[in-house]
Subunit: 154 residues, 3 copies
């Protein structure tokens, strides 16, 4: 069921970004047994980083679009961890979503839904996950959203 | 030792809330092997969400009471994950506690102790856990506290 | 390869702090199978807590030095969890780094590199890890950095 994920992505008109390699002494993911820990993925699209504070420069909808891009980046890392073979993927376990927002913003769930909805749209039930959605005080390079994930491999 | 937890809750005069079902494409918990990942639980009681920033509208003690309610919600989710059978529960592994506070607030441990103390009061040694206690920049719907947890099942 | 870590620390002129015992109903670490969850370690050195907001009172470089001290504290907890026997240690899995910063600060990766670089300097490839680097709204006692970690034991 998870082996036609590339086809599903194409059907949805979605393209995974290149799995980014961190530029420091950390790595994009670490696997322990069947658990895969993926580093926090920041919001960026083909034009570059998606920046700004939700509740000020960005609307919740723009925040959700940023979170969707974090989701695509997470999927790109998972695919890389599977060596491109989606049959090695089992399910999404846990997301922690950090929103760059004003101190008064209360719509973190709406923003992180941009990632949650993408994962379920692409992966079906295997995309359903536990999660936390909070605001960070600030994020790297003023990006709008950063999301890390734990995944189960087959 | 963990099978009389319902009796212990009653003895302490505590009632678990209904295990809340998230309203989006995520789920309250995901189990991988004997590890249970529970979604971030926001502070609410019978009257509704407990809102406000600690250090401004709320005192540290009010924050701790909010965190206690997060703890009750976590226990409700764990019980649901166990199908109501506490003998399937083994221990609390890890909490991450997010406090909605002013930028100057430094009493996050006091606030999250409201949850930590509850878990040990109810579960004894099985309630002792590793944890982080930090402030979020903001929380969903301006709730005072959000706490996620990792638990070990038998 | 990981058994001469004490020698490597000495070679680098590094001394691990005493593994701090939390002062509340939580514990420094919990082991589940071969996974070790270490509580958030706050920035402190021999002189006491390293306090201040990065982007205001502290420069990114000072933040990185604070993060390095969090890394030493994490190593001290891992060593304690191994009963002092580094042959029981396998690798660093995941860090979550929280920076106490101004809302405008965007250099969280530079700050948390202080910890990431230390771990790789001391542990070699076993120190490479997945991670997230975000700002917290505030941290306990106004410390500059708090970092939690997940580690794999042998």
């Amino acid at each position: 069921m998870t082996t036609d994920i590339d086809a599903r992505l194409e059907e949805l008109g979605l393209t995974l970004p290149e799995a980014m390699a961190p530029v420091a002494n950390y790595v994009p993911f670490v696997q322990v047994g069947n658990m895969l820990f993926v580093s926090g993925q920041i919001s960026k699209d083909d034009s570059g980083p998606i920046e700004g504070k939700v509740g000020a420069e960005l609307s919740p909808e723009q925040g959700a679009e940023a979170a969707k891009n974090c989701g695509l980046a997470l999927l790109a890392q998972v695919k890389a961890a599977c060596g491109g073979d989606w049959s090695k993927f089992k399910r999404v376990v846990k997301l922690t979503g950090f929103v760059n927002s004003t101190p008064e913003f209360g719509g973190q769930p709406v923003v992180i839904n941009g990632c949650s909805d993408l994962l379920v749209e692409v992966l079906g039930d295997a995309g359903r996950h536990s999660r936390s959605a909070v605001s960070a005080g600030a994020l790297p390079g003023n990006v709008a959203v950063e999301i890390e994930g734990i995944f189960e491999l087959a």
